[in-house]
């Protein structure tokens, strides 16, 4: 909220300068966002003197002016304003000056063949008024070359503060002044509003028309008729104030509501009474009822919204915006002034549903002072009669001021207990009293009644805030917390540790960690089993970020594409993040996903290695080993979800629980992301990784010689290598320490449909050295076991 210093001083008697006031505002929770001069936007404009103005040689309506702007020589300016003439003082803009109305810098132009090296400005061009009929004429004694802001008296400081949603009372200059006075920065001097006597009964009646359960929507509605007004511009001081806070003066009858809204936080509406049909009432809208609002748009209402209606139609959206059909114009002569109290939550809901913001909504939804409904009306009456003449009727009132008084028991130790701050009891009483709270002292507590304008005060904690912020947060001391254990104990859960280990294991393998948005394009999500309605965002920030991703893979592939476009063809990227199964809370998995892209880095010493399924298989196994502390024993099954190459992918599962999928990506996916392949990927579902079982057990190395024996088997081409290895291992469990495949061969010398698998078996005796005969026996067992499991035989 903005206000010029002079406005604040209407309500606050203070000697403090702007800097002191600004610092105090921030210190008490009314954060100052900016302090600027009212004329800041005019800082580059200077006073110019029109030395001569003659007809433009090529255009009837243009004049050729020589303007003395304080430089060495007068400047030539082409001007179309009818009042541009010799001898006047004008607002002059040099080339390069930003013109407020357009926000663009002025350029040297050539107009109808004549160069123009500057501009003389109208009120509208400077956003000072709507006047665009001619250029501004400055007083004759304005010094040439002087800053225009000073000449126009726009040098006053304007303070802009941020109002938190709880401080409805500070959406007015009056409320801000009250807070500052309580904080010791001066004395509140706002005078009480005097009632204006009515001279005749209001020809319009008002009524509250609500079912009992909706009475809260509008508990109080007041108004009065004023006849014989003459609308026109509001007084200059009012126009200047409104302009200083960024509002456009319109007419006295409109400006009066803006002025009181800003000055006192009291929203009002002025109807042109002659446009109203019959009497007024506040009621719920009918479903689908329509109203053309003052912003020129038609809104469709629902039965939860409150309207002010006459006998014919809804005439205003209560607490949000008036209707255009009954608004005031230059010809308005009779008005009806409305001042009411509307339920904050209902106003907020109405505004949200209609997507309609207004100053009235802003104040109502933060809570206005229910006791100021009638005084606000009286103040409006006074100003309207002063500015526009006319004769007010009696005040008509429907309903009553909603109950707002409540007592809070505020134990004496509360400020110390919650705020950690020792404040003397009489100081607490002083602060609360200055803020308008009713305070009664008892032995160990205060009984506190918040003022009518502080609907945000809810309990003792709020009172602590009031005391602490006014007393000064800077006085709160730093108090060390206790240590639960002298020496800190571990805090991470095993799942959190596993995640950290996987992340660092992947980085140590050469992957670069990325973090990308959890939402992707629906079409991308659909390629990975997502993209359904349940995973759509209702209000995406962009059309291509509208779906919760089922896995981080689409994000990684999009990142790979962007990096390839920058000339990085070989990539190793990973992300640990959510994959979503639906739009339900908790329906998400933490997935460590990685991609390897490219045909390999060229090197002088080895052939480039295009990425393949075995690279990512190694990644998955290494990540799992990092997470679990030991090698993963789960079997690998051929095949993975549809986005993988059907013949070059695998799944690691423990029973029905899938731990990981990996493999080369399906060529269609590679093409969909416009990648230069090949691409291999993995997805490790961290939530499915079992607890680490890496407890160290005792270990005694065997002193006996280990031996290795090689075997080559011919098996059906379809036989899985892992089955053969498993069979060989099982042939003599106590002796066989390891089985390694060192050759796979299909082709000449091996029958069609068959392949040769060569294994190396390491035998480690534990109690004696093996004899040749014993080794031979184990060898026979291995051959038999492999034959039984795979149908294979020793290669001849």
């Amino acid at each position: 909220m903005k206000f010029p210093l002079s406005w604040l001083k209407d309500h606050l008697e203070t000697d403090a300068d702007v800097a002191t006031i600004a610092a105090k505002l921030t210190a008490i929770g009314l954060e100052v966002e900016a302090v600027e001069e009212a004329g800041a936007r005019l800082k580059d404009f200077t006073v110019g003197y029109v030395v001569s103005a003659v007809q433009h040689p090529n255009a009837d309506r243009l004049r050729l002016c020589m303007v003395d702007a304080g430089g060495k020589e007068p400047v030539q300016v082409v001007c179309g304003a009818p009042n541009a003439r010799t001898g006047i003082k004008v607002v002059f803009a040099q080339p390069g000056t930003v013109i407020p109305v357009s926000g663009e810098a002025l350029k040297i132009g050539t107009i109808r063949g004549v160069e123009s090296r500057g501009m003389m400005c109208s009120g509208r061009e400077l956003l000072l008024s709507d006047d665009h009929d001619g250029i501004i004429e400055l007083p004759e004694d304005a010094p040439i070359g002087a800053p225009v802001a000073a000449v126009l008296g726009l040098t006053e400081a304007v303070i802009d503060i941020a109002i938190t949603p709880n401080r409805g009372d500070c959406t007015s200059v009056w409320g801000v002044a009250r807070d500052l006075a309580a904080a010791g920065l001066g004395t509140l001097k706002t005078s009480a509003v005097k009632a204006v006597a009515g001279t005749f009964p209001s020809p319009k009646t008002i009524a509250l028309n609500f079912a009992p359960d909706a009475k809260k929507a509008c508990p109080l509605f007041a108004g009065r008729f004023i006849r014989g007004v003459k609308n026109g511009p509001s007084p200059l001081w009012v126009q200047e104030r409104l302009k200083a806070i960024g509002l456009r003066p319109i007419s006295a009858l409109v400006d009066v509501t803006n002025l009181i809204g800003h000055d006192r936080g009291r929203p009002l509406h002025v109807f042109d009474a002659d446009k109203l049909v019959g009497n007024l009432q506040a009621r719920l809208a009918t479903e689908g009822e329509e109203i053309l609002a003052l912003d020129g748009k038609t809104y469709k209402l629902d039965s939860e919204m409150v309207v002010i209606a006459d006998n014919a139609a809804a005439r205003g959206i209560a607490g949000v915006m008036g209707g255009q059909d009954t608004g005031c114009s230059e010809t308005t002569t009779n008005v009806f002034v409305e001042s009411a109290f509307f339920d904050p939550a209902r106003v907020a809901a109405t505004g949200r549903k209609l997507q309609l913001n207004s100053d009235a909504r802003y104040r109502f939804e933060r809570g206005v002072d229910p006791e100021f409904v009638v005084p606000g009306l009286e103040l409006a009456t006074k100003l309207i009669v002063e500015w526009c003449g006319g004769e007010p009727s009696n005040v008509v009132v429907a309903g009553e001021v909603p109950a707002w008084k409540r007592e809070i028991i505020f134990a004496d130790n509360t400020v110390a207990r919650i705020g950690g701050l020792d404040v003397a009891k009489d100081e607490i009483v002083r602060i609360l009293t200055h803020l308008g709270f009713g305070v009664t002292e008892t032995d160990a507590a205060l009984t506190v009644v918040p003022p009518s304008w502080r609907s945000d005060i809810d309990g003792p904690a709020d009172l602590v805030e009031e005391v602490v912020r006014i007393y000064g947060l800077e006085h709160v001391p730093s108090v060390p917390m206790s240590r639960p254990n002298a020496i800190a104990r571990p805090v991470l859960t095993s799942a959190q540790k596993r995640l950290r280990l996987v992340r660092r294991a992947l980085a140590s393998r050469g992957f670069n960690e990325t973090i990308s948005f959890s939402f992707v394009a629906r079409t991308s999500a659909a390629l990975f089993g997502g993209g359904d309605d349940a995973r759509q965002l209702q209000n995406p920030i962009a059309a291509d970020m509208d779906a919760l991703r089922p896995t981080p893979l689409p994000s990684l592939l999009a990142a790979a594409q962007k990096n390839q476009a920058r000339g990085f063809n070989d990539l190793m990227l990973f992300e640990i993040g959510a994959g979503f199964q639906s739009g339900m809370p908790g329906a998400q998995q933490t997935i460590a996903a990685g991609i390897r892209v490219g045909s390999g880095v060229k090197s002088w010493s080895k052939a480039a290695h295009p990425v393949d399924a075995f690279d990512v298989k190694a990644d998955v196994l290494a990540a799992l080993e990092a997470a679990m502390g030991s090698a993963m024993a789960a079997p690998v099954k051929t095949g993975a979800p549809s986005w993988y190459h059907p013949g070059r992918s695998g799944t690691l599962a423990l029973g029905p629980k899938v731990l990981a999928v990996f493999g080369e990506l399906h060529p269609k996916i590679v093409a969909a992301f416009d990648l230069t392949g090949p691409v291999a990927a993995f997805e490790l579902i961290l939530d499915a990784v079992p607890e680490s079982k890496a407890k160290k057990t005792s270990f005694s190395p065997s002193p006996y010689q280990a031996v290795e024996r090689d075997f080559a088997f011919v098996v059906d081409a379809k036989v899985a290598a892992e089955d053969l290895v498993k069979a060989a291992k099982g042939a003599e469990r106590t002796l066989i320490e390891a089985v390694t495949i060192f050759d796979v061969y299909e082709g000449k010398g091996v029958a069609e449909g068959k392949k040769s698998l060569a294994i190396s078996v390491r035998l480690q005796p534990k109690d004696k050295t093996l004899t040749d005969a014993e080794i031979e026996t184990v060898g026979q067992k291995i051959v038999a076991a492999v034959a039984k499991a795979t149908g294979g035989s020793l290669r001849a």
Partner: protein, 358 residues
């Protein structure tokens, strides 16, 4: 004797002249082999008289030993020469580059997350987590933000489409719902931090629709605003690795805390990199407050007995400040050059004993 001397000289000269091991072996056979010249000489000893043998025996044996030594020495010399030749031939251009090995990196957000955890773990804060898609109730209502409260407008909320069961949920706008989840699941005393992804419909130079927050929550019977001030001072001191920091408190408003306080840190922005601990500028770093009694009651904790504080800040923002990263949007663009420039080594796990950063 002349014969022997001649034989010795002749043989030694031949050994010295042997060009390779094969020639040397041939010489050995020719002199010391079964029918070699010296072997033949030794055989004549058998036919000699004892006196002759007494003279010739040592002479012949001496000759054999000298030849033997000469052959051995020559053999070693030849081997050495051969090895030297091999080594010379095996020379490589050691200035050639190594075989390509990928160098991985940890994202700054992960690194800073680990740093934050290391600091708070020392004070006994556990790490609590929650889902990205959240119940409206946990994200707002339980935190004292009822529907249509103006504070909801401060949270540009992403809504997920209606679900099959008619329910509708939000992408969490802050990590505070984890507070609610923790309090509902756990009795005091509570000390947690909850880092994670958060979402708001906002995208410009200083906002990203997804960002990272961390939240701290302490609930017990004694903790007050002074403890909050202390913990934040200690945290920022530890995090920015400076000997002192100065915090400035400003009253603020969050529906879930009362009183609510925002914190600015004194800093120096005059140079190219921001410095903490001195200077004349203030930078907003955290929002906080004493947990609103209504929130405690909403989450099943007796607000007449328990109290505590909550605070929150941005992880991305901490990373930007500490490591001089200019643009929050760049965090999520996965530009390899950025990942390498601002990323951390896999083994750079932050610890309190070794320091949070190198």
């Amino acid at each position: 004797m002349t014969d022997i001397t001649a034989l010795e000289n002749e043989t030694l000269a031949a050994i010295a002249g042997a060009g390779d091991e094969a020639a040397l072996e041939a010489l050995r056979v020719a002199s010391l082999g079964k029918k070699g010249s010296i072997s033949e000489l030794l055989k004549t000893l058998g036919g000699m008289s004892p006196d002759e043998r007494k003279v010739n025996g040592p002479a012949f044996n001496g000759l054999r030993d000298r030849i033997q030594s000469a052959i051995t020495a020559k053999k070693l010399a030849l081997e050495e020469a051969a090895l030297n030749a091999r080594l010379a031939s095996e020379r490589v251009d050691i200035t050639l580059p190594v075989r390509p090995e990928p160098v991985g990196s940890i994202h700054p957000v992960s690194q800073v997350f680990d740093e934050v955890v290391a600091i708070f773990a020392d004070l006994g804060f556990a790490v609590a987590e929650g889902p990205d898609v959240e119940f409206d109730d946990y994200n707002f209502t339980k935190l004292n933000i009822p529907p249509d409260h103006p504070a909801r407008q401060m949270h540009d909320t992403f809504y997920v489409a209606k679900q099959a069961d008619g329910s509708q949920h939000v992408l969490r706008t802050h990590t505070s719902p984890v507070q609610a989840r923790t309090m509902l699941a756990q009795k005091p005393p509570i000390r947690i931090i909850s880092p994670g992804r958060t979402y708001r419909v906002d995208s410009d130079a200083t906002h990203s629709p997804m960002f990272h927050q961390f939240e701290g929550l302490v609930i017990d019977e004694v903790t007050h605003l002074g403890h909050l001030k202390w913990v934040l001072e200690e945290f920022y001191k530890a995090f920015f690795e400076v000997s002192s920091v100065e915090l400035r408190a400003r009253p603020s408003f969050f529906p879930f805390t009362e009183p609510s306080v925002e914190w600015d840190i004194r800093c120096d922005r005059s140079g190219s990199q921001i410095k903490f601990g001195s200077g004349s500028d203030w930078l907003e770093v955290a929002g906080s407050g004493m947990v609103n009694p209504r929130v405690l009651d909403n989450c099943g904790i007796d607000s007449t007995k328990y109290q505590g504080y909550a605070f929150g800040g941005g992880i991305d923002r901490l990373a930007m400040l500490k490591y001089g990263i200019p643009d929050i949007r760049s965090f999520f663009e996965s530009d390899l050059r950025w990942l390498k420039a601002y990323g951390f080594a896999a083994l750079d796990l932050p610890t309190l004993d070794g320091g949070l950063s190198r």
